[in-house]
Symmetry: C2
Subunit: 392 residues, 2 copies
């Protein structure tokens, strides 16, 4: 029986994880939940799963949940809050496996502490590896902890890497759907609307990640994540555009063999894989080979998607630049969604922030957070300087 802490239990990955736990009650149990701000969902999850610890975003929400649970006669669930609460949920002694699916500060700190506490990590939080990957992987090595990727691309790479030794990998190929603008003429990029950018062809996801898929910045973050997870230089992490999202990624070995992973586009599959690893568990997530017809691949267009180039540059420099890439993008995407900046303002903002970022490598999570904060400041400054006219 694996006892699981789910950081981000009310989000999409959290819910998928709970549906897996529900399907395999003999294998997995929920020990703790970190649920953020969604009080109703947190309450429902507590009633269903009776976790030992549940953490909410702040003291007020925690007190509310505490009242509700008391009213319902639920005892035995400790309600905590904030970053400290999330860390407590992640490091509970009886927890074996931590699903890290919270973005932002709380997720970062809790994931780090979970690694330090020797928990196996299922990483759905891309940001954590981009911002603090150097620190997290060093801690994981020290504690001999497995960092198992839960996003579909890195999970695919993890699977394909089992067909050889790490030293026998020549390079890896992350597949990218290409987003909604893969074939849009470059001349029309200036007219891209928020609605168009939110229409992702294959995956249904949150708003920021959907925009990041349209700019391919998401693939850029995955490049950095891959470098860190698999200890590869950026030059060994390639991107191939594959609109069907059927092949989730490929690993190329030194002998010339490529291994590819194919499956349905359902996050429950990588979650199940990570939770069960090193075993594989029977599931009904079947890919119907009879429906497989044509798979298209093409090289990514760096002119159309400058975010890819920026990501490779940030991956090469690492440290503060990787942090700045992610932070500046988050600020720029928010501004795009608020219609303050155009679509092409996203890479423009990131590029300007990266240019003024100094080459430093944080040694602690606190330093990571400080650099993240600094980059966000920088991005806001760029936005107000360059796009002030629009706002006014």
């Amino acid at each position: 029986m694996k006892r699981i802490a789910i950081l981000g239990s009310t989000g999409s990955i959290g819910q998928s994880t709970l549906s897996i736990v529900e399907s395999y009650p003999e294998r997995f149990a929920v020990s703790s939940l970190a649920a953020g701000r969604n009080l109703d969902a947190a309450h429902t999850q507590c009633m269903r799963w009776r976790p030992t610890v549940v953490s909410l975003a702040n003291e007020e929400l925690a007190a509310d949940l505490q009242r509700r649970l008391r009213r319902d006669g639920v005892s035995g669930t400790e309600v905590v809050w904030g970053t400290e609460g999330t860390v407590r949920a992640a490091t509970l002694p009886k927890v074996d496996f931590v699903v890290s699916a919270i973005v932002g500060v709380a997720g970062l700190q809790a994931t780090y502490e979970a690694v330090r506490a020797g928990k196996t990590i299922g990483l759905a939080n891309k940001e954590a590896m981009v911002a603090a990957g150097e620190i997290l992987t060093a801690a994981a090595r020290e504690k001999n902890v497995a960092l198992l990727p839960i996003d579909s691309e890195h999970n695919a790479v993890h699977q394909c890497m089992r067909a050889g030794r790490r030293s026998e990998v020549r390079q890896i190929w992350l597949t990218a759907s290409g987003g909604p603008f893969r074939t849009l003429p470059l001349s029309e990029f200036d007219k891209i609307t928020v609605e168009q950018a939110l229409r992702h062809p294959t995956w249904v996801m949150g708003r920021r990640i959907t925009i990041d898929s349209a700019t391919l910045l998401n693939k850029g973050l995955e490049i950095i994540e891959a470098c860190r997870l698999f200890n590869l230089p950026p030059s060994a992490v390639k991107v191939t555009v594959h609109p069907q999202s059927t092949v989730h990624s490929l690993v190329e070995y030194v002998d010339g063999s490529l291994l590819a992973q194919i499956s349905v586009t359902d996050m429950r599959l990588p979650i199940l894989y990570a939770l069960s690893y090193p075993e594989r568990v029977e599931s009904d997530l079947r890919f119907d080979m009879e429906t497989l017809s044509d798979l298209h691949f093409e090289a990514p267009d760096f002119q159309r998607f400058p975010c890819l180039r920026l990501a490779y540059e940030a991956a090469e420099k690492g440290g503060a630049h990787a942090i700045a890439l992610n932070a500046a993008d988050e600020v720029a995407v928010a501004a795009f969604l608020e219609r303050v900046i155009p679509f092409r303002g996203i890479p423009a903002t990131i590029e300007e922030v990266l240019e003024t970022t100094s080459e430093t490598h944080p040694a602690t999570i606190q330093e990571v957070l400080a650099l993240d904060c600094e980059a966000r400041e920088g991005a806001r400054e760029v936005l107000s300087r360059r796009f002030a006219a629009r706002r006014g």
Copy 2:
């Protein structure tokens, strides 16, 4: 240093194996060769590789080669002949690895003796596994010997199977190019000529295997081979038609993940893989991902290709039926190449032979050979009865 015996050194697999040995002199060395009837090629190979033992088809050829080597001042190469000679080449004490690439009796006996002698086997001889797979795999289990497939499909399966445990495999998918008649209307199958059937779209191979690729009987033999190599029931060995021959096969795991292997269509790659296993060795056999554009897959048409159905039936029954499938096909293909029977006469002949085959499971190579002989007789009898008019 791995010391290698190559059974079938002058054939296409043998030559590719020698080119691999040539490229990695620090890893591989040639200990013995079995060269068949091609005296000139055998002579050249002896001059280049100076094997300890070389075997030819018969005493006369062996005496010829002996004379030539003496004339050239070559000593230290023992020249032997026949099945016994091939067995000697395969079981030489210093040999570590036997490449089994001879079809027919000599290959079968020598491969079996090599397994019994504890040599690692690189299997390019599909026939051996089809006719005597039950005996060979039992001997391999007993002697704890690895049977490493050298043909591209099974080699791909072997690679993909490293991403999980054997018990976690749900089924495998062998890819088939579909041959030259994949899209030919069924109504035109009666008019297929030898020249058309010899035109294979992706691989350049021998004449029988090219015809077998056109009838898909070759894929049928591979289904049986796969059942035996990977200990799978026929229902767990599927076929998907993939005209580009870029994906060489896939393994589907119980969790819903499929692993696929992709590489250039060059036999040196599976040979290198088998020779190096469990390592992977750097090679220049690079697959250019930038050239990857569209991969097509479709379900095989059992109406157009009745050989597939016959192969599944033979796979279910095993033993004598698998032997008869292969033997009857060889006889029928020879008759087709001699323009004695039409293209559709090939499955018709096989079907009739299978119908009169009794369900027996040979326990020795001698019994295998007797059943093989019997099936060939049966096939000739069917041919003379059904197609006598044409011949005359």
